[in-house]
């Protein structure tokens, strides 16, 4: 059954690469934003909150189109990126990374934010009286205690990235070997006669990866939790 064609194998590999990068790139930002939302008292907090959650409510195609408008070669940001840094995102696998990161961001932030909010602020106060600056308090107390949630958020983001379709196909299209991720490949296979077998194979792989990610996250979170709370 798992006799993948070279094209299918490429799509699986690409999807893993894109999802991994999307997670790695968005995690630091996600942690910062989650911290700001959980503990920050600043003007524009609700605006930031809305902005972060936008990809969750908007149709993915719309998000993808907005990305294309902003980050496309002629887009206001895309042009600067291309002219100054030589970075082109549209119709490249790096663009798929951006699309997946943006789509997974709300899930990632939400999980991390909840776990940061669950950290007892009185412990942070105590760290402050011991001489730790707010950033140090975050690095040495808040983040370690919120680690299970950070892991859960990262895996959620990864799983979301593995399955992202609408925004990706709109922003970077469906180019085999460059931007044809697993969902795009499944979609393509269902559009051609005789593609059913391939679609089934990829579907099975997709389910397996998602399940494995979920189990891994549960297990990791448990291990970390035990290390934090017990001897």
């Amino acid at each position: 059954m798992l006799d993948l064609t070279p094209e299918e194998l490429t799509a699986v590999r690409l999807s893993l690469k894109v999802a991994l990068w999307a997670t790695v790139v968005s995690l630091p930002f996600g942690i910062l934003v989650a911290w700001a939302l959980a503990r920050g008292r600043f003007w524009g907090r609700s605006v930031l909150n809305g902005l972060v959650h936008l990809p969750l409510i908007l149709p993915p195609v719309v998000t993808g189109y907005i990305l294309l408008l902003l980050l496309g070669r002629r887009g206001p940001i895309g042009q600067i990126l291309a002219d100054t840094f030589g970075i082109v995102l549209a119709f490249r696998w790096t663009g798929a990374v951006v699309a997946c990161a943006v789509m997974g961001f709300p899930l990632l932030v939400r999980a991390i934010r909840l776990s940061i909010e669950a950290v007892d602020p009185r412990l942070e106060e105590a760290a402050g009286t011991l001489g730790a600056h707010r950033l140090w308090v975050f690095a040495t107390v808040t983040l370690p205690l919120a680690l299970p949630g950070v892991i859960a958020g990262a895996i959620l983001g990864f799983a979301k990235a593995m399955g992202e379709f609408g925004a990706t196909i709109t922003f970077v299209s469906n180019i085999p070997g460059e931007t044809q991720t697993l969902p795009s490949a499944i979609y393509t296979l269902t559009q051609v006669p005789g593609g059913d077998a391939g679609a089934m194979r990829l579907t099975a792989i997709s389910v397996a990866i998602s399940l494995a990610a979920l189990l891994a996250s549960e297990w990791l979170a448990r291990v970390v939790e035990r290390r934090i709370r017990r001897a």
Binding site: R122, L123, T129, L130, A132
Partner: protein
């Protein structure tokens, strides 16, 4: 050591308005719950932002809102021992203890890790996690953690309140040792008169957000007008005495103070040691002639210095026993029958003497 506090801060319906200067080794912020003690200590630590405050520790200005100074908590270098310990659950005891040391500039450090660990007796706990410690052990580690951040002043917010009597008795000697070593001034919040009587050198008495009295612990606790605030039914005077000699034959110890000699059941302390005792007002009887044929061992001579306002059937009286204040709680009828008035020479029959620092 000197601590200068001048704070004004609205707390819901009451306004915390406290101004005092404390110079003792251990200053007790004393008062009922809701008097504003914890709010005050949080303002000193910088955890609560006050409406107006000036806080100076040993010449270092921690806050002076009038001049726009308000150091954040991490730059105040106050050690804070919280009621619930607040140890970091993800760190071992050793890591908890050294946490604050990281952030203290080397030039400002005092006290050694080994010294503090030995003093608090927490050596065997170093590799454990806080979750596996008993309540008393947690508090000892919390004290050590605060000390090892080399604070300018050590703030303790009812550090014993969450512990049972046995655990309290386990911690108190450590606090005393800390006070007597005198390396760091201590501000100790408590609503328990027994703790204050035992530990405090200076008392700041708070009620409804205001400072009612400040001064030497012996003086403040010996004041008649403050008896309701300081102890109520438990009120009484404290006396700093010296162990004069032990009486092996009767298993007694003789203490001496300005008021005279006081006999107590034998103490396991050397002669010459300073011992603080507490005599509750309801344990003192008054006689106008020297009593004889009485089993009570402690009869002190003095004069009536002050007669309080009657409350119900009873009246509180302050005696002056050669400079030492003693409080007595009598019935109104007894006061009338004996014809007690200020200036009258009387004898105080002390039924029970409690060791304040035992």
């Amino acid at each position: 050591m000197s601590l200068e506090v001048d704070v004004e801060h609205r707390l819901g319906t009451v306004t915390l308005q406290a101004q005092f200067t404390a110079t003792g080794r251990l200053t007790a912020l004393f008062g009922r719950s809701g008097a504003g003690k914890t709010s005050l200590i949080n303002i000193i630590a910088g955890l609560t932002r006050p409406d107006r405050a000036r806080i100076v520790v040993d010449g270092v200005v921690l806050a002076d809102t009038g001049r726009g100074i308000d150091l954040p908590p991490h730059r105040r270098r106050v050690g804070y021992v919280f009621q619930e310990g607040r140890l970091f659950p993800h760190l071992t005891v050793r890591q908890n203890l050294t946490y604050g040391r990281w952030f203290t500039p080397a030039s400002a450090r005092w006290g050694s890790f080994d010294g503090v660990v030995a003093m608090l007796g927490i050596g065997p706990l170093l590799d454990r996690r806080p979750a596996l410690l008993s309540g008393g052990e947690k508090q000892r580690v919390a004290i050590g953690r605060a000390l090892l951040s080399s604070p300018r002043v050590l703030l303790m917010d009812e550090p014993l309140a969450a512990l049972d009597e046995a655990r309290k008795a386990e911690i108190l000697p450590y606090v005393e040792r800390l006070r007597d070593e005198g390396q760091v001034p201590i501000v100790y919040v408590s609503h328990a008169v027994s703790e204050v009587a035992r530990l405090a050198s200076t008392v700041v008495l708070l009620a409804a957000g205001r400072v009612v009295a400040t001064g030497d612990a012996v003086d403040v606790l010996g004041r008649l007008d403050l008896m309701t605030a300081t102890g109520g039914r438990e009120g009484g005077a404290i006396l700093d005495t010296r162990i004069e000699r032990h009486d092996a034959r009767y298993d007694l110890t003789v203490l001496s103070c300005a008021a005279g000699e006081i006999v107590v059941p034998r103490l396991d302390r050397p002669a010459g040691a300073i011992t603080r005792i507490r005599i509750q007002a309801r344990d003192v009887m008054i006689a106008t002639v020297e009593p004889s044929g009485i089993s009570a061992q402690n009869i002190l001579q003095g004069t009536i210095a002050e007669i309080g306002r009657p409350a119900g059937g009873s009246v509180d009286i302050r005696l002056d026993c050669r400079g030492q204040a003693l409080l007595a709680s009598l019935t109104r009828r007894a006061v009338d029958q004996l014809g007690l008035r200020t200036g009258l020479a009387v004898f105080a029959v002390v039924k029970t003497v409690a060791l304040a620092d035992g």
